[in-house]
């Protein structure tokens, strides 16, 4: 172990808001988001790179924030579930997950919505197979996948014109 705990200065943008922070390099991105920035919508599920509850977008790409060091997000644009709504209006993905009852306990939902956001940013009309593949890294322990797929389809429909 190092005798002196190193601190590193980083700058990043989270949901469009710039932050300058000094952190320990071993801090994980999910801990920075939850413990430092108090954005507790991003959840910690397995903490072992399996379940995807901690999924956020890093420069538009879905990542498991329990498996990225915060120091690696220096200069990056991060989006968490809190960044989906705009001016008090739910994002079409959030609305679709509600309308289609695409959740049961809701623990996996923030991660699933961000995986959906990456999918729909690259593919406006995903097939069912493509939807299943896009959320394969997000585990719903309630096993409510059918309604989740309906929600993704609804979100795709309502975002098509956008």
């Amino acid at each position: 172990m190092p005798d002196v705990i190193q601190k590193v200065a980083i700058k990043l943008s989270v949901n469009g808001k710039p932050h300058s922070l000094t952190i320990e390099p071993r801090m994980l991105l999910v801990e920075l988001i939850r413990e430092v920035l108090d954005l507790t919508g991003t959840h910690v599920g397995c903490d072992t790179t399996y379940c995807g509850a901690c999924t956020v977008l890093m420069n538009g790409a879905a990542v498991k924030s329990c498996t990225v060091f915060a120091v690696q997000a220096d200069g990056a644009q991060i989006m968490t579930v809190e960044g989906l709504e705009k001016d008090g209006q739910l994002h079409p993905i959030q609305k679709a997950f509600g309308d289609a009852r695409g959740l049961q306990c809701g623990y996996c939902t923030p991660g699933l919505m961000l995986s959906t956001a990456q999918l729909l940013s690259q593919n406006k009309e995903p097939s069912e197979r493509e939807m299943r593949k896009a959320i394969a890294g997000n585990t719903c322990r309630c096993t409510g996948y059918q309604n989740i797929l309906k929600a993704i389809q609804m979100a795709a429909q309502s975002m098509k014109g956008a």
Binding site: R26, T49, Y50, C66, T67, D74
Partner: protein
């Protein structure tokens, strides 16, 4: 979970990263995609004193077609390979890139990191073993090219010297009339496969001119199924020659029983994966468009 504290170093170039490895010796680890290393550090199986981050080095992520080869920068993410048009010309490479773990891991994990880790359950080594592949190994001064077969020495062990790192992976594009397929069976998306098989062959009419068959997750390293190749090379691909090849592949596998399945189960599984991969490779060599890759529930 927190890893143990470490010193963080952001390398500005691959040469500088190599110089840092010389300076810190065994106390240092390289951070590429981090999708294996960070979990290991969180569980404190890996406790490097110095972490050298390669992610801020520009020009290390690329896919270039050049004089009959495709060159992958070491930091090229699986997802970039999955979506690239160059790699799509090599179906076996697309099979692999599009199915490693899940979207999130593919967005971070790198081809160079996967080869350098040499996990016996990793996908890339098995696929690239069926192609003419060279790994470019970089030092602070100069570099060398190593054939993939010589690069992977043992489980988690490569030919890299302690101050050397992977800078590029170079794959020769197979001749016209070739086809390949990679099939990996896994219980769910994020986990490593239970067994996998890669087949790359070149057809001349009904006859298999040349073939390479590699098995993954059923030994300490990728296993080259040489007797299985022999059963097909120079032969027409029929049910009979395929059955002989599958039997030879099953015989050469060295699976171990673990939580993913018993040794017997894995041997049976790898045999059927080889069978299906040969079939798809032959049909692709004829120009058919067939989907293949990772199979999971």
């Amino acid at each position: 979970m927190y890893p143990r504290a470490f010193h963080y170093h952001r390398a500005g170039s691959l040469e500088e990263a190599s110089a840092m490895l010389s300076e810190f010796g065994d106390e240092a680890k390289l951070l590429a995609g981090g999708q294996s290393l960070i979990p290991l550090m969180k569980l404190r199986y890996a406790n490097p004193n110095h972490l050298v981050d390669l992610n801020f080095i520009s020009g290390t992520s690329y896919i270039k077609e050049e004089s009959g080869t495709v060159r992958f920068g070491a930091l090229t993410r699986h997802a970039e390979i999955e979506h690239s048009t160059v790699a799509a010309k090599l179906p076996i490479i697309h099979d692999c890139a599009a199915g490693i773990a899940d979207v999130q891991v593919r967005n971070r994990g790198t081809i160079g990191g996967s080869l350098a880790e040499a996990d016996p359950s990793g996908d890339w080594a098995t696929v690239l073993m069926t192609l003419e592949t060279e790994v470019r190994c970089q030092k602070s001064k100069g570099d060398r090219r190593v054939r993939l077969a010589d690069f992977i020495k043992d489980a988690y062990t490569t030919a890299l010297a302690h101050d050397e790192l992977v800078s590029e992976v170079v794959v020769r594009i197979p001749p016209h009339g070739s086809g390949g397929a990679y099939l990996a069976f896994k219980r769910s998306a994020p986990v490593y496969p239970t067994a996998s098989a890669a087949v790359q062959l070149t057809m001349d009419g009904e006859v298999c001119k040349d073939v390479a068959i590699a098995l993954g997750c059923v030994g300490l390293t990728t296993i080259k199924a040489k007797d299985a190749e022999k059963a097909l090379r120079g032969q027409p691909v029929t049910q009979k020659t395929m059955a002989t090849a599958v039997e030879a592949a099953r015989a050469v596998a060295e699976p171990q029983s673990d939580m993913r399945g018993s040794a017997d189960y894995k041997r049976t599984l790898v045999g059927s994966l080889v069978n299906r991969a040969i079939d798809i490779a032959v049909r692709r060599a004829r120009g058919e468009q067939i989907e293949a890759g990772h199979i999971y529930a």
